[in-house]
Symmetry: C2
Subunit: 232 residues, 2 copies
Amino acid sequence: MSDASELAAFAALLADRTRAAMCLALFDGRAWTAGELAAHAGVARSTATGHLDRLIGGGLLVEARQGRHRYVRLADPGVAGLLEDITARLEPGLPPARGLRAATADAALRRGRTCYDHLAGRLGVAVTDALTAAGVLDQAAGFAVTDDGLTWLTDRLGVAPDRLRAGRRPLARACLDWTERRSHLGGLAGARVCETFLDRRWVTRIGSGRAVRVTPAGQAALHELLGLTGLD
Amino acid sequence: MSDASELAAFAALLADRTRAAMCLALFDGRAWTAGELAAHAGVARSTATGHLDRLIGGGLLVEARQGRHRYVRLADPGVAGLLEDITARLEPGLPPARGLRAATADAALRRGRTCYDHLAGRLGVAVTDALTAAGVLDQAAGFAVTDDGLTWLTDRLGVAPDRLRAGRRPLARACLDWTERRSHLGGLAGARVCETFLDRRWVTRIGSGRAVRVTPAGQAALHELLGLTGLD
DNA sequence: GCGGCACTTCGGCGGGCGCCGAACCGTCGC
DNA sequence: GCGACGGTTCGGCGCCCGCCGAAGTGCCGC
């Protein structure tokens, strides 16, 4: 009986159009700010605050406060899997490959891929770790680009300084990688890094999808630049 | 966006204590009547009617009208799996084996088992099919014991007539078998058949669980009585 | 065919919940 | 510092939804 109450309480988290829209948006694996989710769902920020409180309290989401921002993402891959199971049930005929499980099944995608406009997969995590080790990123401070890091990006990597001026988009953003269960670098800096790697042919796209592969030239360059090895 | 509405609408089906209690009750795989579910959930019958309409309309349950009864059960194994996934999330530490998936994994259980007090699994379905072929059961009429069937149960199988008088419990009831995706015989008649098989040592329990095995004597007897073969 | 039973329909009540706007608080950038 | 901005708190509004009981409808058994 109490079991039924728990089930009902859990289901109630998703039983609201606004909260459902938030969870579906977060289904992409990225961390969103409260304001972005409010805009996405079409409600006032104050309303979004309450919904996020409930979703976090219910264990579906986790938050990371960063300055005046409240970043929020799905709590764990289990939540993503559950959402996928339910939505798959809702559209029986539709693409079975839309979700993250399909990505899991594909070794190439697991190795390396783009997530929107930045690197993800093992490659994305490896690059992020190397950037952290090199002092470019400060993960302790919640995924911030350090002052030295800015210099590194412009001088070592060769990104034009004005392309790193944060406008509406945060410079660095943590993006959770389901297949790796790790965060990798998103945001403006993540996009610039990916862009540069592609420009220089350090990585190339495989086919027309999101999968990418490190080229021989890229293996040499990334070893030279970041000490990375074993990027097949 | 419309996607979010659909997800919310679906989740709303389970987001009520009463409906959740109904679904959890049906999780055992049996078909319940509307009145039974109302009593189980502790609401008026009129209230239960509305809830069942919603659950059926949403595709979680299916109904089978039979006389003045409204039998209802989970729509398909996918629903059971979904419920299992969700409840497993709610009690992370608890028995991973409570559900039906565990049964699926166990070959012995898949072959033959008891479901409450009647036979299930391949054995249960085979016996039910044979009883139907022998004219004991009329599945077209919604799982009814025929007049000839009553005679068969008493004269051929040797069940005492007064043990087949239906009281509150229906004489025959369809019980859905998840592993076989087929109905098998439950209700009073199902219990008597199972009881008789066990009494005569045609089937014996394996260990202390629900799994059962057909004995050599049982194989001979069931072949003689119902033409059944291949019951290892 | 007549009572009894399972279920359904309907009207009405009450509580919960989602929504907003206004005021407030902390952080960031000039 | 001071304004801008993201997020939070609070009060109040309105709707939706779950609940019941009473009356109605088929179906069953005597």
